[in-house]
Symmetry: C2
Subunit: 141 residues, 2 copies
């Protein structure tokens, strides 16, 4: 909708991560529960493999079923992740708790860090890591 | 600056990828040349390992030297990537060409895709994949 009404010459630069996962359809449901994500786009092939764009507030990310033939590997296939997601939110403690309740695993809890962020880290059931936090600004360190 | 002047309660939700790389300092120079990135934050330890935040227009991403002991692996260590970056720009052809000139390798060239984007894919010298494109909107498919 936004794309269709936009002229060809006013595209703002954006960078959105595209997470490779096993069980993409299940992953969409997880991210809805864990982050309150909403689904703004989904295509699905006859095998049930998906490509989807999800929004969390004004932030966007993509996920897709892995396709090693196209060099898209899940963390499960690789035995780890090459990119982690830094999710900045207004209430890191609440967001972190919601993610863990939905099935994410705590890597380290939300704490004030010496570099001026209040932040914790989880790994989701699909092997992707998320640092959930916010800059402390003037408030406290 | 922005962070310090912001109150504790008006943090917008944002998701920024943090790329694990070997040779973080070299990677910063590559992304400046390839994407016209500017460096908004860098910390460096006594071994020369960095954590940096880079901006491309209004888009932001992070990079850091890999630290397998903290579960942060480069694509080189894993033999692939678990997340690729979707970079939306106003002129995909020009942005793609600049990245390739700076040392990225073409995975597939910029072309109009049936899903309504003009997009190509490169892999950078550190093993991260970037899809550089834009939605075609009404213009042409």
């Amino acid at each position: 909708m936004g794309d269709e009404s936009r002229s060809a010459t006013d595209q703002k630069t954006a960078i959105a991560p595209m997470l490779s996962v096993r069980s993409g359809a299940r992953a969409i449901e997880f991210y809805k529960a864990a982050f309150g994500a909403s689904e703004s786009f989904r295509i699905e092939n006859e095998s049930g493999e998906v490509v989807a764009r999800l929004s969390v507030g004004e932030a966007e990310f993509w996920l897709a079923d892995e396709s090693p033939e196209h060099l898209n590997f899940s963390p499960e296939s690789l035995g780890g992740g090459s990119v982690r997601m830094v999710m900045t939110v207004n209430d890191p403690d609440a967001a972190f708790e919601q993610a863990v309740k939905a099935g994410a695993t705590v890597v380290w809890p939300v704490e004030n860090q010496p570099y001026g962020w209040r932040v914790g880290r989880v790994v989701d059931p699909f092997g992707h890591h998320w640092e959930i936090g916010k800059p402390l600004g003037r408030v406290s360190v």
